[in-house]
């Protein structure tokens, strides 16, 4: 009975979402303010219904109800309880349900704080969110119903894809999706502003914390995905420029641009139409990401089973959403007037370049991701675009961005004069260059020019981000969370630049064949294969190797990579063994039995690779700090009281 209840709840959620869209958009347009009173109920009801549906599916997973097809395809009685719950988003139908649940939760959060917004504006925001939710619910019900029954019921399930049976991947999709879906809020704010034909600095102040928060989640989600790929896929890479990775990276780049453009709109009342366009772009790219991952149009290493009818539905929905948003933009954006100009050395100009470079980067990633699809459609042959394309083109836009960051942060608004900070910036740059050279030629005994440039920029960004907080602290001035958050996030960028440069420049990797007792020297260490033993898990059996790592003849670590065979799907996975030694990650993956007692092993030493994920975390913490600035809360509280609904309608 539960699955039917879940389906029924989903249908009710669709009706409530449609009501929410109708009341929210038509109510203010027709001047029916009484309709607005129904909105909180529609929002809450929809969230309860979606949560009920999710609860029913979780119950089916936990109770091993293999009469539900989705459960039978993605679970098994031998699967541990934790993975039976996370198997919910192990495939397409459930991920979509997760997406809808997260959208419902974001909507509840917006509705809860909407009492501080002008009522009609809030109604329009909720209306647009309802429209998006209705679209996704319709998509789920029409093409991807997770509650479909299997008759007769399967005796046991086909099990969750073994590579998804990992704590990292269990939490990666919810966090990534929270980020994706969070951009829907910025999108809804942009649409509401365009419908009203009014967008002021106050608008930017409402939109900023939501956007920044969504960005923080997206940052964490991408980092988790990269971390998972590093240790679970057994290849030891942290980024492959795979279409699925790019799909999450493009909205991140657009979202980063949006955060900075919003800052200008907030502080100076400029870049208004550009900000709107970026809000549309960020969400469109989030939806495109869903389309790319779920339709299977691209040759991707991550691509799971795909269904063309779904692709067509998402594509249609995508075109409809982006098309109507852009039409609205073309119609309404000319109404928005920007304030006065600025000088070319002002902070506005730096943020303009920041935006141009980020959008250029997003465009090059977009071109590289979609080129194979376009070339294939036009019959130009089958292309494959990989790191040889992405690495240099991405760097072309990222290096100037990093170089401009320290100066831009210290440039004054409107009239760009650096004042006393010009000298400080020069000192920090010189110090960064010396440090970078010391690192490259002292510690690593040589490197390329690009390595020195990357390290210098990274250190300079960190040092210059510390100037403002340190000066304020020394003078006993208060430091707002916004400035502190910005500094922390920029320090994260600096750390990321250092980590990426070091990893790209100083990675050692070798595949070796060893018999027990044999050893091999890689990157200053000696790796000795001691023995191989069978291992048993709850739903797999396998082999575990014991490898002793020696440095100068002394054992520094014992590592245990495994090879697992999962019983149900007969799929083999590698459990890599990773150990941090002297700041570098040493990774060992167990390969195959080569015969004659010899096994293949992949040994990889990546210095500072952990700093990549740590840097992402620092960036996210900075973003959360900035979003929690007191200014946004008081701004909202002030806006709620003195502005009557009638005053809003003048525009």
């Amino acid at each position: 009975m539960l699955p039917e209840l879940g389906l029924f709840a989903l249908i009710l959620a669709l009706l409530l979402a449609a009501l929410q869209a109708f009341f929210g958009i038509a109510g203010p347009a027709l001047g029916r303010d009484r309709w607005l009173a129904a909105l909180p109920m529609a929002v809450a009801g929809q969230a309860v219904m979606v949560a009920t549906a999710v609860g029913c599916l979780v119950a089916a997973f936990v109770g091993n109800d293999f009469s539900v097809r989705y459960v039978a395809e993605n679970s098994n009685t031998a699967l541990p309880l934790f993975y039976r719950v996370t198997a919910l988003w192990g495939a397409h139908e459930g991920s979509l349900l997760l997406w809808i649940l997260l959208l419902a939760l974001w909507t509840v959060a917006v509705a809860a704080s909407a009492t501080r917004l002008p009522p009609r504006f809030a109604a329009r925001v909720l209306g647009v969110l309802g429209l998006i939710s209705a679209g996704f619910l319709l998509f789920t019900l029409a093409t991807s119903n997770p509650f479909l029954r299997l008759d007769p019921a399967a005796p046991d399930g086909r099990d969750l894809n073994p590579i998804l049976q990992d704590p990292g991947l269990a939490v990666h999709p919810p966090i990534l999706y929270t980020g994706y879906v969070g951009f829907a809020v910025a999108f809804a704010f942009a649409c509401a502003a365009m419908i009203e034909g009014r967008m002021d600095q106050q608008w930017a102040r409402w939109t900023r914390p939501w956007t920044t928060l969504a960005w923080a989640f997206l940052t964490c989600g991408i980092a988790l995905g990269s971390f998972w790929a590093y240790y679970e896929l057994g290849w030891g890479g942290y980024w492959f420029w795979d279409p699925v990775e790019n799909a999450s990276f493009m909205p991140w780049l657009a979202g980063t641009a949006l955060i900075h453009s919003l800052a200008v709109t907030d502080k100076r009342g400029l870049f208004k139409s550009w900000t709107l366009l970026l809000a549309i772009l960020a969400f469109s790219l989030s939806m495109l990401g869903t389309f790319l991952v779920r339709s299977g149009v691209l040759v991707s290493v991550h691509s799971f089973a795909a269904d063309p009818s779904r692709g067509i539905f998402i594509l249609g929905f995508l075109i409809l959403t982006i098309g109507s948003a852009l039409t609205l933009y073309a119609w309404r954006a000319p109404l928005l007037k920007s304030g006065a100009g600025f000088e070319f050395t002002a902070r506005e100009a730096f943020l303009l370049f920041n935006n141009l470079l980020l959008v250029t980067a997003a465009a090059t990633v977009f071109a590289g991701t979609l080129a194979p699809l376009i070339a294939d459609t036009l019959g130009l042959g089958t292309l494959s675009v990989g790191p040889p394309y992405f690495n240099p083109t991405f760097m072309v836009s990222m290096l100037p961005l990093l170089a401009l960051l320290p100066v831009g942060v210290h440039a004054a608004w409107k009239r760009g004069h650096l004042g006393e900070k010009a000298r400080l910036l020069l000192y920090t740059l010189a110090a960064a260059l010396v440090l970078a050279c010391g690192f490259v030629f002292g510690l690593y005994r040589g490197g390329r020019v690009l390595t020195v440039i990357g390290l210098t920029l990274g250190i300079w960004i960190i040092a210059s981000s510390l100037i403002e907080p340190l000066q304020r602290w020394r003078r006993g001035l208060s430091l707002s969370r916004a400035v502190l958050g910005m500094s922390v996030a920029h320090i994260g960028i600096g750390l990321l630049a250092i980590a990426l440069t070091t990893v790209q420049s100083y990675t050692t990797e070798r595949d070796v064949a060893l018999a027990p007792g044999g050893s091999s020297a890689v990157g200053g260490y000696e790796f000795r294969l001691e023995q191989l033993q069978p291992v048993e898990g709850a739903n797999f059996s396998g082999v575990q190797a014991t490898v002793t790592v020696l440095r100068n003849g002394q054992a520094v670590a014992v590592m245990n990579p495994q090879k697992r065979r999962f019983w149900v799907q007969q799929q083999v996975t590698s459990e890599t063994s990773i150990r941090m030694l002297r700041g570098a990650n040493v990774l060992i993956a167990l390969g195959d039995d080569l015969g004659q007692g010899r096994w293949s092993l992949r040994i990889q030493i990546r210095p500072l690779v952990s700093l990549i994920w740590l840097a992402a975390l620092v960036m996210a913490i900075g973003a959360v700090l900035a979003a929690a600035d007191r200014r946004y809360r008081t701004a909202r509280a002030a806006a709620g009281a003195p502005l009557p609904a009638a005053a809003q309608e003048v525009a």
Binding site: V299, S303, A305, P372, S384, R598, S600
Partner: protein, 151 residues
């Protein structure tokens, strides 16, 4: 032209110049760095020069996997069911590599007609077949059908 308008004009021109520079760079990178994806049939048709790096996609032929005992180097045959290409690879194979499953390898053809791979990727999904292979599979069937009908 008012000063504001003039400034805006400069700005737009600057942006256009920057964008075209970026486009030009991206385009040249494309010409240089895009790797082509070929199926065994395309190789048989002589579409690939020896020494040129490309990606080979197809299915691992059942019963073709071989390895000298104790050696890390493996040999197998990639097929699109119309033509076949022998492949050699001297690194650890991915977990999902198996006979009868889809595979994508990066490397080049040597003088003896063997594809020397420096990277081999297998798919997460066991039902996965590279789209180009699925298509050439249909072509191949159509062609063999014609041949048998004609002879």
């Amino acid at each position: 032209m008012t000063p504001t308008r003039r400034r805006r004009l400069y700005l737009v021109l600057g942006i256009l110049a920057g964008a075209s520079l970026a486009a030009a760079l991206a385009f040249s990178a494309f010409r240089k760095d895009v790797t082509f994806f070929h199926t065994p049939s395309e190789i048989a048709a002589g579409k690939v020069q020896s020494g040129q790096s490309f990606r080979l996609g197809g299915m691992v032929k059942t019963g073709s996997f071989a390895r000298a005992p104790g050696s890390i180097e493996s040999h197998f045959v990639v097929t699109d069911f119309a033509h076949e290409v022998p492949v050699s690879y001297a690194k650890v194979l991915p977990d999902l590599f198996r006979e009868g499953a889809g595979v994508v390898a990066h490397g080049h053809m040597d003088a003896r007609g063997t594809f020397v791979a420096d990277e081999v990727l297998a798919k997460h999904d066991e039902k996965y077949m590279p789209p180009a292979v699925a298509r050439s599979l249909q072509h191949g069937e159509a062609r063999t059908g014609l041949k048998s009908g004609g002879s």
